[in-house]
């Protein structure tokens, strides 16, 4: 069960990676990065819940917070036009 869930999460992380790689504009790359953040946090949470390593749950929460901060930060800087 654990292997299947982690493998399926890795499979769902492929389309955001492609969008992050080929996205024509900055906003497409930002969308891909935000989706990828959600999937990595989910994979950490699933690994923690299946194996019982409770500390990985804290890591997942911190990763989600930092990913959200990074997305908003890049969006705000891109809105002003600084490159």
């Amino acid at each position: 069960m654990r292997t299947y869930v982690i493998a399926a999460l890795c499979l769902t992380a492929v389309p955001p990676l492609v969008r992050l790689w080929v996205g024509p504009t900055l906003w497409d790359r930002l969308i891909g990065a935000a989706s990828l953040n959600v999937r990595v946090a989910l994979a950490l949470a699933a690994e923690a819940a299946f194996t019982g390593h409770g500390i990985l749950l804290d890591v997942a929460l911190a990763y989600a917070i930092l990913g959200f901060l990074g997305t908003v930060l890049v969006a705000r800087f891109g809105e002003r036009g600084e490159r």
């Binding site: 492609v18 504009t25 891909g32 935000a34 959600v38 819940a49 409770g54 989600a64 908003v72």
Partner: protein
Amino acid sequence: MIGTVLIGVGLGLLLLGGLGTLRFRDPYARLQASGVGDIGGAVLVLVGLVVHLGWEATGGILVVLILFVVFTGPLSTHAIAKAAFMRGERPKEK
């Protein structure tokens, strides 16, 4: 059983959201697919983990993670859309 079904549906929703990001042609349409798919899929997978493994194995941190995803997902979607609109990106006609 219910937890397995919830995890499966959440993973399918995540995959469909990602494919919508690839398929749509304009950043706003991609943003809609990605935002809805990510938030719904993440909440379904986390609720499925809680139901599948029981309350003792996961504790309250998964609930905190669910609340965090629900509150900050629309926020980052709105930040990206507003930034794209302020920089002159317009939706494509047809």
